[in-house]
Subunit: 191 residues, 2 copies
DNA sequence: ACCGTATGCCAACACCTGTTGACACGCCAG
DNA sequence: CTGGCGTGTCAACAGGTGTTGGCATACGGT
């Protein structure tokens, strides 16, 4: 068994946290390859070699920095007519409150490991949430995939590529437009 | 005036084309930073310095390789009820027949210039197409942006991140699910 | 046949990258 | 007080990057 959580607080915990914070910022702003360990270390005001000691490698650092929980609400407690609206609002909040998702999305375009993690998050977490309410199990994966496609497209155009009309839309209007789409992907049928 | 098109075919045109083809492949597969000039030159079976002579710099090469025309159909000739379906089918074809778009999307996540070009393509070309049929000019930019968000999300999950359920969907089913979404973004109203 | 020029290769540059090992300081248990 | 260990810095390595200039060669017009 790997001894996680001996709970003994180490003096270096603050440094570890600073590194992680700087890493998330840099990965979110620059993507995986342009976010250099040296720049991250400089932001955290320590030597680059510390990053290696605490996280092993750049890949290890990214893996630690890209840990993420969508914190999806319990969809069984949401009125079935408001699923889309609720999810879109939740994703907007989650996206704007934590730059980890932006880091993950930026990196996922070029880094296979990041793409892997992205797949995992949206397949596992979103897939599980979609499976909680009673749609045909045969189609849940597809429905979750379609939701992911719309949500990620929204995130891509709003936070990464920054298409002006999408950036300019207030959250409420985004919910108004995209909510029904998500609703249909979850509970509707094609064509 | 810059003398474009003296129409005199140069002996090096084949080389130029080979470089461009290799560049599109590499940019599409690896993104901007990981696609190295050396690797592109090796694919094209020439010396890296030739790339510099013909395209000036890596940025110049990318700019040439990322030239792209969506070739959107004339939307005024499409029955207004089939706009969504038509557009989705067109985008799927365009995306699968030319890796330039994939290169552009991969690069747009990390390279500001690529993001710029992406914005240009979807604002100018898609925006113009959406403007051709008579919706309120006030909302055309927003409608075009929403369409871009859904289409780019579909492309991201199908060709870049490769979410299994989206990859597995046959084109006809994609059209069946996403077509109505695009239709609503073009001709419908929120909420 | 000749010569200029377009085409291509080679070697090198300056720089930046992730990563490593040796060395210094300071906290804390004994 | 005195070790030992956790924390941090410094300098360097080996490799890869975009980019540059010089040199060979072969084409094409005269």
């Amino acid at each position: 068994m790997t001894d996680t959580a001996p709970a003994r607080p180490r003096r270096s915990d603050a440094t570890r946290a600073a590194i992680l914070r700087a890493a998330r910022e840099r990965f979110a702003a620059d993507g995986y390859e342009r976010a250099t360990i040296r720049a991250i270390a400089a932001d955290a005001r320590i030597d680059p070699s510390m990053v290696m000691r605490y996280y092993g490698s750049k890949e290890g650092l990214f893996a630690a920095a890209a840990e993420f929980d969508l914190r999806l609400p319990d969809l069984t407690r949401v009125p079935s007519g408001q699923l889309g609206e609720t999810l879109v609002r939740h994703f907007l909040d989650r996206w704007e409150g934590d730059e980890t998702l932006a880091a993950l999305l930026r990196a996922a375009s070029t880094n296979p490991g990041a793409a892997d993690r992205m797949r995992g998050i949206f397949a596992d977490q979103l897939g599980a949430a979609v499976a909680t309410f009673g749609t045909d199990p045969e189609t849940t994966a597809r429905r979750a995939g379609l939701v992911a496609a719309q949500i990620l497209g929204l995130a891509l155009t709003r936070y990464i590529v920054r298409l002006p009309p999408i950036v300019a839309m207030p959250p409420a209007e985004v919910v108004g437009w995209v909510g029904p789409t998500i609703q249909r992907y979850l509970t509707g049928s094609p064509d």
